[in-house]
């Protein structure tokens, strides 16, 4: 299970991991539970196609905020509209945007400036979580890009600060960096699954992330962990069938991968506080829309037919 309480006091959670391992599902579950515990919660993604809304049965709306259930909304930040929001709301330069940046040619020029999209994305998250007037969410959960891109994203502020850039962009990047680096406001959650190659990638990636990211690594979540299953154990022992052999092999592989991950994390934690490792259950199939209470059951580790991990 994953005890979300320590994360619910933050302003911004950044959920990352390799593609296809349930990053969006963990984001959705955390956000849903936070909302059901009374926090005004916003789920954010930065993708060409909406992933989070459809998980809850909403149509893909593109880049506007939409409500999922009471206290819970989602928003897909697109690069183009983010550029406008960043310049107008965040830098407070509406005139400048209208006279200069709305120009098609300037837009195409700006899209080639290295790192600018990343800086603006982080700036926008900071703005939504910390600065926005009025209906500011209590918690923002960001379904962040997959590992490699996430690393680029998190190293951008430093690159900008060390570059020849100047002016408001650099001043704002300093503030964003400060926000990301404050452990009571931001945390990174790394999601993985108990498969050998995926776990070795995690063990290789996490120390690099911990060294380079301004935002602190708050926990590692292993998704799709098989629940203890005495019925299956007995079946496998007494009458092995293709089904029991298939399931047993996968369970053994998962145990092995979990072990590799634990060893890797011990190594990473050497000399500092141990890193929380939480496990979430293998559900077999994720049906949509996710119903009310899904987040609570899933994060509590309740798998199919009750078994807990």
């Amino acid at each position: 299970m994953l005890d979300p309480t320590p994360f619910f006091t933050k302003k911004l959670l950044l959920v990352t991991g390799k593609g296809g391992i349930g990053k969006s599902l963990v984001t959705a579950a955390l956000g849903q539970l936070a909302a059901e515990r009374g926090l005004r919660t916003l789920l954010v993604e930065n993708a060409s196609q909406d992933q989070l809304g459809p998980l809850f049965g909403l149509p893909a709306l593109g880049h506007q905020e939409s409500q999922i259930q009471p206290q819970l909304s989602c928003l897909n930040i697109g690069s183009e509209e983010n550029f406008r929001e960043y310049v107008v709301k965040y830098l407070g330069q509406r005139m400048l945007y209208e006279t200069v940046f709305s120009n098609r040619l300037v837009k195409s020029f700006m899209s080639t400036v290295p790192g600018l999209a990343e800086v603006m994305l982080l700036g926008r998250l900071f703005y939504i979580a910390e600065l926005k007037e009025g209906e500011r969410p209590d918690l923002v959960v960001f379904d962040a890009p997959a590992s490699g891109h996430f690393m680029s994203l998190m190293t951008t502020p430093d690159a900008v600060l060390k570059s020849s850039l100047g002016g408001p962009l650099v001043r704002e990047t300093e503030r964003v960096n400060g926000f990301l680096a404050s452990p009571d406001k931001c945390a990174v959650l790394y999601v993985t699954v108990p498969e050998d190659l995926v776990v070795s990638e995690a063990v290789e990636f996490l120390p690099r992330l911990a060294a380079a990211s301004p935002a602190r690594l708050g926990g590692v979540v292993v998704n799709r962990v098989p629940a203890p299953d005495p019925v299956l154990d007995e079946l496998a022992l007494q009458h092995p069938t293709p089904v029991s052999i298939y399931l047993e092999e996968r369970r053994a592989a998962a145990r092995e991968a979990l072990q590799t991950l634990r060893l890797g994390l011990d190594e990473l934690a050497r000399g500092s506080a141990a890193l929380a490792l939480a496990t979430l259950p293998e559900l077999g199939f994720i049906d949509e829309p996710l119903g009310r209470g899904f987040g609570e059951r899933f994060l509590a580790g309740r798998g199919p037919a009750g078994g807990e991990v």
Partner: protein, 368 residues
């Protein structure tokens, strides 16, 4: 061979592009397809962008810009060959600069420029575009008759196909000279000289980024002008290449609702750009013998076992996803490919033997 579409692609295509969401086994599939191509006697070049590099390391594929021959044991009787490269952003970018810069001197000035250094290594750059540039280079290489292209593992898979045009807007009306040159000159003569329209715009940008950054960037772009023009021309050639009859697209997915949604979006965008998917592969399916056997497991057992309950959900879900996605792809492009399936394995594929086994399984697969 059981699947006509697969045979067609392996024997007749010149370029095969794999598309799919992250984490669906695209890189593995690209190597399997390259090996099947070699089995069919083709001389294959494989371009991959696997950021984890685990698979590449296991197979001895070097990271960089150069192709390396995969060592396939002679005993296997494979008549073709596979040369593979795991693309490294900086190496490909450097090669492009050397290729298009007006002189080696300009090339080395570009490579030494701080903006270039930041763009080519530190920050996420147009990796997709570079893979396409490499693709274009390889199609001019007579040593290869099939090029397999793996695409970047993220949700922006289709940027990859739109990318060749990304620089055209930039080059229109020589925007570069119009916007940048005056600014680079202002670097020399002071900002007071910025009076024209383009100069006003640049002054506005400088309010956000700071003047010295812009000067440095402008300076860089002037240096890059011919290189960018070269990139642009390659871009146009690439669009032509991708539209050729013998360029095929393979859609790779896993049988989950989330992955199928991405695959369905890709198929729709593909159709909108005037392409079609010739192959549709579902990776990581429950093996057929397990599916058959599951029907014989007593309900009383299934109810009490989380693993069996989960497997039941998975089997039912898989069936729904496969049917729905195959129908969506067929609708998007008038005629859909017959889906192919690969069974889920207990260990991730990490050796040539295991990849060849997957290839055999793919060839045997005739749908369900």
């Amino acid at each position: 061979m059981a699947n006509q579409d697969l045979e067609d692609v392996l024997t007749k295509s010149r370029i095969l592009v794999l598309l799919g969401a992250g984490g669906v086994g695209k890189t593995t599939t690209s190597i399997v397809m390259a090996l099947l191509g070699a089995k069919a006697g083709r001389r294959v070049a494989l371009l991959s962008i696997d950021p984890a590099r685990r698979l590449a390391t296991a197979l001895g594929i070097p990271l960089g810009n150069s192709l390396e021959r995969l060592k396939i044991p002679a005993a296997l009787g494979i008549s073709g060959s596979v040369d593979a490269a795991m693309l490294d952003q900086k190496a490909v970018f450097d090669a492009m600069v050397y290729r298009h810069a007006p002189s080696p001197r300009v090339a080395s000035r570009i490579l030494a420029h701080p903006v270039y250094k930041a763009a080519s290594t530190n920050l996420s750059g147009p990796l997709e575009y570079m893979a396409l540039a490499k693709l274009q280079e390889l199609t001019e290489d007579a040593r290869y008759d099939l090029i397999v292209l793996d695409t970047p593992p993220d949700t922006h898979a289709l940027d990859f196909l739109a990318r060749p045009n990304v620089l055209s807007g930039f080059m229109e009306n020589r925007v570069m000279s119009w916007l940048i040159k005056p600014f680079a000159l202002a670097g020399r003569f002071g900002l007071g000289r910025l009076v024209g329209m383009g100069e006003k715009l640049m002054g506005g940008i400088a309010k956000v980024t700071g003047v010295s950054a812009l000067r440095s960037f402008a300076d860089f772009l002037v240096l890059m002008q011919e290189v960018i023009e070269g990139f642009h021309q390659s871009g146009e050639k690439i669009v032509k290449l991708l539209h050729r009859q013998d360029t095929r697209f393979m859609l790779v997915t896993v049988p989950t609702l989330a992955a199928a949604r991405s695959a369905s979006n890709i198929a729709t965008e593909l159709a909108a750009l005037g392409y079609r998917a010739s192959l549709l592969l579902f990776n990581r399916c429950v093996p057929a013998p397990v599916r058959t056997d599951f029907a014989t497991v007593p309900m009383s057992l299934k109810e009490r076992s989380p693993a069996l309950t989960g497997l039941g959900y998975k089997l039912a879900g898989e069936e729904r996803v496969v049917a729905a996605l195959a129908a969506r792809v067929a609708t998007a492009q008038a005629e859909g490919p017959t889906p192919l399936f690969l069974a889920d394995r207990e260990h991730d594929v990490g050796s040539l033997e295991a990849l060849l086994e997957l290839g055999d399984e793919l060839e045997r697969a005739a749908g369900r």
